[in-house]
Amino acid sequence: MRRLGLDLPLLPTTAVGSYPKPEQLVEARRMLLAGRLKPKDLREMEERATKEWIALQEEIGLDVLVDGEMYRGDMATYFAENLDGFRISGLVRSYGNRYYRKPIIVGEVRWRGPITVDWWRFAQALTKKPVKGMITGPYTMMDWSFNEYYSSRRDACLDLARALHQEVKALAEAGAKIIQIDEPALSTRPEELEEFVVDALEIVTKGVDAYFIAHVCYGAFEFIYPEMLELPVDNFDLEMSNSELDLVELFKKHPFTKDISFGVIDVHSHVVESVDLVKRRIERALEVLSPEQLWIDPDCGLKTRTREEAIGKLQAMVKAVREVRTGLCRGNA
């Protein structure tokens, strides 16, 4: 961390990626799709919303910021639309009355040029705190796409890794020191982790000097543990707020050797946690991990919560961390 020029406190606080979009922005995105708004006007609104969230994060006191994804919809389609080799599918049901479009791989997947670098630069210019670079990982891109081109999941994943490596290089060259690879699909077929996911992430991160975080939207990671430690990242971002996993047991057999961004805020609940509840969750992490390994964040992106809920939750989190830090320092004195 110091080598990269990052000076973070004990138990750095951060967020996972998304914040709720302001209502006017949601409407503006619809209007763009309907052809009733110009891209540059949408861009202005996205910039304004990003500025707002950067300022809010600073006010709340987060140590490592995210750009809030005001310009993104679905995390897979966003990258598919900006890479060669993809088309977008018709509607498919996710649950209830929710439908979405999936990427379809129709040809060789290739990096066309920087996808997220512009937005990363824009966000970073607004603050002195480090802003995370963020990509959707090759395994998730492969697993969430239809595949009409590659003869195996492995081949699709590795070509995606090569394309995404270019993006990661571009982010690092632009100055991003912390880069998050979102892999919510990681636990879907655990056997594939050692078959090709490790190779894929090695391709993505090779030769790039940055602190890498793998975000795995999954609290019950015992199916891919300890194999997941083989992934060439420095930090695992895990959804732990509601996890009933016996970490003491799990880490007794195989100690957690990397850093962990321990999710302590339930992003699926509208209830704003009390500081005490968050403290208890942090203390649970401290039972099995050393403070030096620990980052604190919400379970996942906050885009499904209202603005007020998101702010309230982050405030509770930061307050809890500050109290725990004080306790730790006193303990060490």
């Binding site: 599918s89 049901r93 009355n97 239809f146 009409e148």
Partner: protein, 326 residues
């Protein structure tokens, strides 16, 4: 000898404006703008449409597309006593989510769950309809158990309850009844318990043919054991296994088979040159009958247009196979 069938679900909306009916009605119903009855009528209409699409594609055996189902787990569980329905969970390795049932009390059949859905479909379909229900082992494995001291007891009570439902479906005129048990592929060590559950279910069937369908995993290891179950048809998903074709050819089948050679999870259209050789190897080895060419799983994982094209493609391939095999 070789027939064609749907495997389960079918997309309830499409991308064309006239195919948005279900989505629009659902949204209005959630807001209270239309009544339960009005929403039900839209579901009836959409069910008719999806049945007609399957018939137009040329299938010999259709399903009602499960248009009325929230998901394959909670739709069955909520119809039984003993269950509460909880929050969303990922459905196997798909990007689809189901509502997780919680077992709070003794599981009992209280009234028919799928009978009126099946009867409705049977009435309006020009082609035979098979009812599909998720089996006791998979429902048990997908639920949070807060009542029974063991998985075994939960599975067996579920088998008893769903066995009753299957008996009712037979009385309602079902000739083929399909039971989906994808979860056994993930838990092969539970096969003894699984066998007990299937035997319990089969007690309720007199003349109807019971089809056991599995998917989302590799069935090669359990294939031999499936052949020993008292079911009439075994449905297999070939998209997860390199060696399943060889296993089936080598061991043959004393039962009818459902050949899931058409990938219900991917938009890529299968080529005749890929499927025909497999059919030519497998079909002669099947002693029991019939053999169905069907999608590897439900079709709700695909856009509507693609689902229809898959069925048309499947029918074309089966026709060609019949010509070639004589």
């Amino acid at each position: 000898m070789l027939l064609t069938a749907n495997t389960g679900s079918y997309p309830r909306i499409g991308d064309k404006p006239e195919q948005q009916k279900h989505r629009q009605a659902y949204a209005r119903w959630e807001k209270g703008e239309i009544s339960d009855e009005e929403f039900m009528r839209v579901q009836d209409e959409v069910t008719k449409e999806v049945i007609h699409e399957q018939v137009r594609a040329g299938l010999d055996l259709v399903t009602d597309g499960q248009v009325r189902w929230y998901d394959p787990i909670s739709h069955i569980a909520r119809g039984l006593r003993g269950f509460e329905i909880n929050g969303l969970l990922r459905f196997f390795d798909t990007n689809f989510y189901f509502r997780q049932p919680v077992v709070e009390g003794e599981v009992r059949w209280v009234k028919p769950i799928l009978v009126w859905e099946f009867s409705f479909a049977k009435e309006i379909s020009a082609v035979p309809v098979k009812p599909v229900l998720t089996g006791p082992y998979t429902i048990a494995r997908s639920s949070i158990n807060r009542y029974y001291p063991s998985l075994e007891e939960l599975v067996l009570d579920l088998a008893s309850a769903l066995g009753r439902e299957i008996g009712e479906l037979e009385k309602a005129g079902a000739d083929v009844i399909q039971v989906d048990e994808p979860a056994i592929l993930k838990n092969p060590d539970d096969f003894e318990l699984f066998r007990d559950a299937i035997e319990e279910i089969c007690k309720n069937v007199e003349n109807a043919r019971l089809a056991l369908y599995t998917y989302f995993g590799d069935a090669a290891k359990l294939y031999e054991k499936f052949q020993e179950l008292p079911v009439d048809i075994i449905g297999l998903d070939f998209t997860y296994s390199e060696r399943l074709v060889d296993v089936v050819v080598a061991q043959g089948s004393s039962k009818g088979l459902g050949l899931g050679l058409i990938d219900g999870r991917n938009t890529r259209m299968e080529k005749e040159t890929e499927i025909l050789p497999i059919l030519e190897r497998i079909v002669p080895q099947v002693e029991g009958g019939p053999v169905y060419l069907n999608p590897s799983c439900g079709l709700e994982y695909l856009p509507r247009e693609t689902a229809f094209a898959k069925l048309q493609n499947l029918v074309m391939i089966a026709k060609r196979a019949r010509e070639v095999m004589g």
